[in-house]
Amino acid sequence: MDNPPRTPISPPAARRRWPWPRVWGIALVAFRQGMRLRLWILVPVAIFVLVLADLYSPRFDPVFESVPAAMSTSLLVMAVLAAVIGIFLATYSIPAEVESKVVFSVVTKPVSRAEIVSGKTLGISLLILAMLAVVGLGAYLYISIRAGGIQALAVRRLEEARPRATHPADLNALEAAAKHGPLVTFRYQAIESLPETDIHFAAGAPPAPGVRWVLGETGMRLIWDLAKIPVAEWARAGRCTLCVNLETRRPEAAPAEPVQISVALANPKVSRTQAQPPPDATQAPVSRTVVEVPASGIVEIGVLASDAPPAKGALNLPPPGELSLEIMAVKAGCAVGAKAGAVRATGPDEQAALSEEPTSQVALEFGRVMLVGRPELPRQVAVFRFPGIPEDVLGPGDTAVEIGMSVDAWAPALILPAAEATFRTISGKEKTFRFTPEGVRSTVLYIDRGFWHGGPLEVRLECLTADDFLGLVPRSVRLRLEGGPFALHFAKAGLYVWLLGTVLAAAGVVLSTRFTWFTSILGTFAFLILSMSRDFILHSTALGNLAVRLAKGGDSVVRWGGWLNLTQHLVMPLPDLRAMIPGEAVSTGCVIPLGELGALFGWAMLGVVLLLVAGTLMFRKREVAA
């Protein structure tokens, strides 16, 4: 009797058709393997550790620090849990099956190596997700329970602080914590440019349309670009005069003496130290002088060649190149202003040229606009202009404006700095708040919907204390909008951690396809440490320089903003695992935008796929079948 023809157990065509059921099956086996190893015991341990760690942690300000710190601790514990499972189980699974020869019964089944590797990774990833979900739920319940106590504490603190508050607005944050509790989330709308500066004159000051003003002792300067006027040629030819038509204002309390200004001719491309005269020069050229503005407001300044002997009321030309005229008011409270065409240059043959509108420049220090404090008017103002913001972007509830700044307080130590914020809508409505600026904590001011419900908004900031300076950066004033439920925010942060665990699991599985358990663990740890310190390595080794050079080379061929990122990944092909651990901003309640989460998910999945491809290739080369 003839034997029936042997039918292939796994027709290649059928096997390749749809791998998902087989991958899912292997994933479930890996998931069950984790459960069989009683890894779930780590869940209560993790919850216990996070609760204990948080309860034993000292806090300076329990009302504002407890929830961020508890969330930070929870996410750290979750990240450690994800890393531990991702590393240990992923590296254990395949070597254990090879050791126990179970793998023979798997690889002889109609499954490909790619399906095995993908299934293992998926199963461990699911296990991490399940465990993180339970730990996250425990952490969320713990934080919610703590939040109740914190709200009660905020109410008590508010009662204590109310009589001592310098300004009612200083209590805004505490009032919000007492009213809504500490489980708040928010998102920001900010302006990405430095603020404009303006002068706040007393109410009775006459209007001066088209005049650009600067205030004395604030570092503000009026600048005219003289590049289009042949001042240098005229000065070398014999005679050149700059006639500046200025408007001045002095404080009401000041004596009626002429306003003094500092006038300078400068080359904006050359720094002041470079512009110093040579040490052997007999008479140093004069590039800056102080003159009084007469009642007519017209100041005449002679311009001399750079090598001409200095003369009274005249300035020597700076080093050749671009040329600008700079004017500052000398005394505090005195303002100087000018319109377009205020500078008239006259040449040796009485030929004349008018300047364009001046620009004003403010004092900048380390990229910050320094806003100078002054108790009385006129005063320097920083203006942040929000473009038209649709009402539906604002979300429900009142809108908060968060103001953060650095404070250089040079007033006597026991005088508290004071600041004023004025909100101005397009319809001309104004609302003013006074507050105590803190360099560490931003001030939160609330705008009700009756006052502003979308559209353009202008925020004007002033410092009210003498000798104090407020340092402002582009995002110093932000609209703080409601960010949605705290649970959703926490879940998003948990997803970040899950992605970290998944990438580590993929790395562990990949290494374990070729190496022993022990070697795979070491390898995955090395992968973790290198990936976490990727930025540090790039910034402190020659690899970073190499990436920069490659990026410059690429940019010279095709202009593209992403060159550096690409070359850094080329010279150091590791994922940035630090980005998968939510930062302090997330702990303080700043929600993760969905786009950002999606992008991170995409990058993580790309990394996982690349790792799985590598793992499949390595597994194919390994002789595991009998």
């Binding site: 000292p58 300076f60 620090e65 961020p68 710190a69 803190e438 360099g439």
Partner: protein, 380 residues
């Protein structure tokens, strides 16, 4: 006794003793605890107490002693092991979590501490402070044997973080947190002169003489009942003793300079008392000139007493300067440094004589004339 489901009554078979109820178990446990305590407690006197008190100069509670004994064994706890060299921490039951975590972390303690240091420094630069104390507490708990760890973080809290706040109240709260933090470091390193020196410095320089000092000095008096300078003197004095005995002052300043801080603190304390006396006498004079004679006399009595206190303080400061100068003369310290001690001694001596002269014959009646010759000293 019946089964809860079946309702069938189950009786114990003959000869089997009935089950003990929870009351008997609790009583038995209590007896065991009392017996154990009876056995262990005397060890405090005979085994643990003498060696530790001799070495550490601290009285320990029975609970702390039990924890110590359970951790190190009785012989080690009694001073037989290396753990009890002078300067080792005095452990308390509250140390159990940190000690347990230290043991559990094992080899991972190092990387964890490095990570904590990096995060703490990053957050300090970014002015993110919600985790700062927590991170510092964790680092210090895991590296509690290093006095420099405590003093470095203490310095950050007291000198760097404080100034980022504007209100003196907040600043003072941070300083107070820093002091609590370093007290913990002092408990863990009871013979570290470095910690004592840092503590003295914060009371003398930050709380005593900084820009906000008038506010701080008032708060210190409210909170601790004494002058900030007096507390600074106590810490500096403790530092001198600890360093003389254990040589634990790893300071860049020389010993004569570091030791002089105690004397300086006393001089500042004396100046503060002199200021108080001057202010009280001025109030008395103002009251007298305003026609409030009764109030003036009462305030005068207070001022007179404060002046006597100030004179006593100056005499104390003078004695300190003299004693230290004599000491360093014997130790062959450079003459320039001895001259500094002599200079401050002469200043204290001159002030004592000046104040004694001011006080002699001072009455309420001659206050207006005598007050004109007085001057209010400035803290320098």
């Amino acid at each position: 006794m019946s089964h809860p489901d079946s309702g069938v009554r189950v009786t114990a078979p003959p000869g089997v003793p009935p089950q003990t109820d929870w009351r008997r178990s609790a009583a038995l446990a209590a007896v065991i605890v009392v017996l154990l305590a009876g056995v262990v407690f005397p060890l405090r006197r005979y085994a643990v107490e003498p060696a530790r008190e001799e070495l550490l100069g601290h009285h320990e509670s029975p609970g702390r002693r039990l924890a110590l004994a359970s951790q190190f064994g009785f012989d080690t706890a009694a001073g037989a092991g290396l753990r009890l060299v002078p300067g080792r921490p005095v452990l308390e039951l509250s140390d159990l979590p940190s000690e347990a975590v230290t043991v559990i972390l094992g080899g991972f303690r190092g990387p964890y501490i490095v990570w904590l240091w990096i995060k703490a420094e990053q957050e300090k630069q970014q002015k993110v402070h919600f985790d700062l104390l927590d991170r510092y507490a964790k680092i210090a708990a895991l590296q509690s044997d290093y006095p420099q760890v405590w003093t470095y973080m203490f310095w950050n809290i007291v000198w760097n973080v404080t100034v980022q706040w504007q209100s003196p109240e907040r600043k003072y709260e941070w300083i107070r947190r820093g002091i609590e933090f370093l007290r913990e470091g002092y408990r863990k390193n009871p013979h570290s002169a470095l910690i004592m020196e840092s503590m003295g410095r914060v009371y003398s320089e930050k709380l005593g003489r900084s820009q906000e000092a008038p506010y701080y000095r008032k708060r210190v008096k409210e909170d601790e009942g004494r002058s900030a300078f007096l507390i600074a003197y106590e810490w500096y004095d403790r530092m001198r003793r600890a360093n003389d005995r254990y040589g634990t002052l790893t300071h860049t300043l020389g010993k004569p300079v570091a030791y002089s801080q105690a004397c300086h603190s006393l001089s500042f304390y004396s100046q503060e008392l002199t200021q108080d006396a001057y202010d009280a006498l001025k109030s008395a004079l103002d009251a007298r000139q305003a026609g409030r004679d009764a109030e003036g006399r009462r305030t005068f009595q207070e001022g007179s007493q404060k002046l006597a206190d100030a004179i006593a303080a100056w005499e104390w400061a003078r004695r300190e300067w003299r004693d230290q100068a004599l000491r360093f003369e014997k130790e062959d310290v450079s003459p320039e440094l001895i001259a500094v001690y002599r200079k401050f001694y002469n200043e204290a001596d001159g002030t004592v004589k000046e104040l004694q002269a001011a006080r002699t014959g001072l009455t309420y009646e001659n206050l207006p004339e005598r007050f004109k010759q007085m001057r209010r000293p400035e803290l320098k």
